[in-house]
């Protein structure tokens, strides 16, 4: 093949490779220039938020910001003005429509003057639902359950006691699970019917029916988090638990069978559902670790698959799913104990928002005064952010541009290299083809061989130098014989070629002087 063609063939292959990779990267959307930023709309001092939600709690058809700390419950309006604020002793809160007015109420489980009590805050008006309740530990969890038979307020303390109250405050049933603090209380679906899923710190997991009867119970390593979601919208929830020693277990809410069990290598500090891929038929969930690990999982075809993993700087304290760029897919906004807030995209790309001076405690999203805001609570204040998303238009096509540049350069290089003539061989032979000349050369070569033999006998040349010189002269002699044959002159062949090393030898030799090959046959 022509020397001038080869560089172009190599260039063509390389260009095909480059363009294939560029096309793949472009059309799979692997490259995006996107950034998330935020501006603080307003902030208010608030210490140690434990629970926070943007929701309509007052009778004004506008969402308010509900927030609860270890000793206070406050409701801010959309501009940061306090609409309601009341101090409580060790309160735990939940939101639910207790009085069936189609508006959420705040349910507060706390220790009052007359013992354990439950308050309902409706439109800023506080009413005590129950008091002097029989609990021995501190309030731990409270949930408003919308059972088929009607709503129930389920209360849990730090020693594993559960009590269910009717909307009127009468105790419906009680149950004792585990004997330790409740770390999760969620509604779980079984055949479309709401049940109660609970988990205690000592590793007890239970699903309880509306009558208070335990449907199933399981135990595992110490549990830090429990959430129940119907991940595949089949009417049966999955119960996700995260352990103190890294166990991430997904149970079926129906019978407690284990769907997925893996160790993520660090204590699980948070689990939340985030609609990462925008497919409402299947929910994804994101898990945060105590050492800053972040993992995203999907639940296709009834099995748990890890989508990506990332990391934060410190213990993940909150995960929230927010569709920041209005593309129908939620981004995971994650806060950590070091005060960092990051936005993780569907593919796991991380974008940092402004840092906070104290650890992040809660993050939520909602509309305040008609504008979509992200509310971030840290150790000392609550900030309402306007989160923005910008991207460079057409950036996804840059791999194609880079590929074209690279291809052009490859083509130019191939053209230049093909234009350079081949370097001539450094062994040159000037040979006259006349018979006289060939015979004279033959004589000269034989004289030279005789000279080398003489030098060897006199000891002037020994060893490898003698053989190397002899090899070259004999090679020249073989070329001379070839030249004779090519020109059609008769010649008595006096050389043979070693079948092993290819060196030229004198005819009749029984052993190759260069490699030791025996030539007798």
């Amino acid at each position: 093949m022509s020397r001038k063609v080869i560089p172009f063939i190599v260039a063509f292959v390389l260009i095909c490779l480059v363009m294939a990779v560029s096309g793949f990267i472009t059309f799979t959307g692997l490259t995006k220039a996107e950034k998330f930023g935020s501006e603080v709309a307003w902030s208010q001092s608030y210490f140690g938020a434990e629970s926070m939600k943007v929701i309509n709690l007052m009778g004004d058809d506008q969402d308010e910001l509900f927030i609860q700390s270890t000793d206070n419950v406050t409701i801010f309006d959309g501009s940061g003005n306090i609409l309601f604020s009341q101090n409580y002793d060790r309160p735990k809160t939940t939101l639910g429509d207790v009085n069936r007015d189609n508006r959420e109420d705040v349910v507060v489980f706390y220790i009052g003057d007359s013992g354990f009590a439950v308050d309902v805050i409706d439109n800023g008006i506080v009413s005590t639902l129950a008091f002097s309740l029989d609990f021995t530990g501190d309030p731990s969890r409270v949930a408003v359950m919308r059972f088929a038979s009607g709503p129930q307020i389920v209360l849990g303390d730090t020693v594993g006691v559960l009590r269910s109250l009717s909307p009127g405050g009468q105790e419906l049933w009680n149950q004792r699970i585990g004997g330790a603090e409740f770390r999760g209380m969620d509604d779980a679906l079984i055949g479309g019917q709401i049940h109660l899923a609970v988990a205690t710190y000592n590793g007890s997991i239970a699903v309880i029916a509306q009558s208070g009867q335990v449907v199933w119970e399981a135990s595992q390593e110490q549990t830090r988090r429990m959430r129940a979601f119907d991940l595949n919208a089949d009417g049966n929830s999955e119960v996700i638990t995260g352990g103190e020693f890294g166990a991430l277990i997904v149970y079926s809410a129906v019978d407690g069978s284990v769907i997925h069990n893996e160790s993520i290598g660090q204590a699980v500090s948070e689990v939340r559902v985030v609609e990462l891929n925008g497919d409402p038929g299947a929910r994804e969930f994101v898990v945060g670790g105590k050492d800053g690990g972040v993992w995203a999982y999907a639940f296709p075809n009834g099995s748990v698959n890890r989508l990506w993993s990332g990391s934060m700087s410190d213990k993940v304290t909150e995960i929230s799913g927010i569709d920041i760029n209005d593309d129908g897919k939620e981004e995971a906004v994650i806060g950590d104990e070091a005060g960092k807030v990051s936005v993780f995209t569907e593919t796991g790309g991380r974008n940092n928002l402004d840092d906070h001076s104290t650890g992040i405690t809660r993050i939520d999203v909602g509309r305040l005064n008609g504008e979509k805001y992200v509310v971030i609570a840290d150790g000392s204040q609550v900030e309402v952010h306007k989160v923005n998303f910008t991207s460079l238009p057409g950036f996804q096509y840059t791999p194609l541009i880079v590929g074209l540049i690279l291809s052009a350069v490859i083509l130019i290089i191939a053209a230049i290299l093909a234009s350079i003539p081949q370097r001539p061989e450094l062994k040159v032979s000037f040979q006259d083809k006349s018979r006289e000349s060939l015979e004279a050369e033959r004589r000269m070569l034989k004289e030279s061989i005789a000279d080398v033999e003489r030098l060897r006998k006199s000891g002037e040349v020994t060893g490898d130098a003698y053989l190397a010189r002899l090899k070259r002269l004999r090679g020249d002699l073989a070329e001379n014989e070839t030249a004779f044959k090519t020109a059609g002159f008769p010649i008595k062949v006096e050389t043979i070629q070693c079948p092993n090393c290819g060196g030229t030898l004198e005819l009749g030799m029984d052993k190759c002087e260069y490699c030791g090959q025996v030539l007798l046959s």
Partner: protein, 315 residues
């Protein structure tokens, strides 16, 4: 942080190596030296069995071809460096994008791709580079040119011009160990072998032989620290020999017993006649020179002087 500095440092060193490699390609710095500090020359081997004009033309053409290849690459020498800088430019685009708050790596990947392309091209250009021709190449060609009219019409020069190097392992004639066990190698490089039938019927054989001596590297224990140290190889010297045999046409010449212009011990140019015999109808002598390089004029001068031993017979 340490890992970042370590990786960054390694990358910086790599980039600098690529930069200087391409810069040297652009500035054509290929004057390499061998282990003994001698300049590398083009290793040419010319086999001679042709008429003087053909050989001289062939040698000129060979030189032109080598230069042509080199010159063809020369005009593109800065292109790899420009491609390298284009790669830096692409990476800077990523830098700007990152400064704007976005994350991008695609231009950096493209930049690295351009750097690889630049290295490939630089290697290709360097392949077209060649070392300088030895002065012996031109000298021998001039020698052939001078002697061309003295050749018998239609006859050819025979022999070889071996400029592949005088210190090749294949040219070690012998080696010897001294009392300390150090090995000294003795090289014998017959760089020129020439046989020609002259116009007057005489036969001329000339061999240019360079004999060199080199002590091989060895390990030695230091008397002070007691540590084993490697001593590098050392070039111990060289000398040049010109071995000539002239078989005069007995019908034309008789060989004189003595000549004031040519006798043993006589200095002719850079040569000294060290051996001389003029018996058996053949003049055979060896002229030695302590110089590493001898010009073709010196060789011609010696040959001319040797002819003073020939006396033309009366017609």
């Amino acid at each position: 942080m340490e890992a970042f500095i370590c990786v960054g440092g390694i990358l910086l060193v790599l980039v600098l190596i690529i930069f200087f490699y391409l810069l040297n390609t652009a500035r054509k710095r290929v004057n390499q030296t061998n282990t003994l500090g001698k300049k590398q020359l083009l290793p040419v081997y010319v086999s001679l069995a042709d008429k003087p004009t053909s050989i001289i033309q062939g040698m000129n053409k060979f030189r032109t071809d080598v230069n042509k290849t080199e010159k063809a690459g020369d005009k593109w020498r800065w292109i790899p460096m420009l491609i390298f800088l284009a790669g830096v430019g692409l990476m800077l685009i990523d830098g700007v994008i990152i400064l704007l708050g976005y994350f991008s790596f695609i231009f950096t990947v493209g930049g690295v791709g351009l750097w690889i392309a630049a290295i490939v091209m630089a290697r290709g250009l360097r392949k077209s580079d060649s070392f300088d021709f030895s002065t012996r190449y031109n000298g021998t060609r001039d020698l052939f040119f001078t002697l061309r009219d003295d050749l018998k019409p239609g006859s050819t020069y025979l022999g070889h011009l071996d400029l592949t190097g005088s210190l090749l392992p294949t040219k070690v004639a012998r080696s010897a160990n001294d009392a300390q066990g150090r090995t000294t190698e003795y090289f014998r490089d017959e760089w020129l072998a020439l046989k020609a039938k002259l116009y007057d019927g005489s036969i001329l054989r000339v061999s240019g032989i360079q004999k060199s001596k080199k002590r091989k590297s060895y390990w030695k224990r230091s008397r002070i620290s007691g540590k084993m140290k490697s001593k590098p190889e050392k070039f111990k010297g060289t000398e040049h020999g010109l071995k000539v045999r002239i078989v005069p046409n007995p019908e034309v010449y008789k060989i004189a017993k003595t000549s004031a212009e040519f006798k043993q011990g006589l200095n002719i140019g850079k040569f000294t006649v060290s051996q001389l015999t003029a018996e058996g109808g053949m003049i055979s002598f060896v002229a030695s020179s302590p110089f590493e390089d001898v010009e073709h004029e010196n060789v011609l001068q010696v040959l001319k002087s040797a002819y003073s031993l020939l006396q033309r017979k009366a017609a």
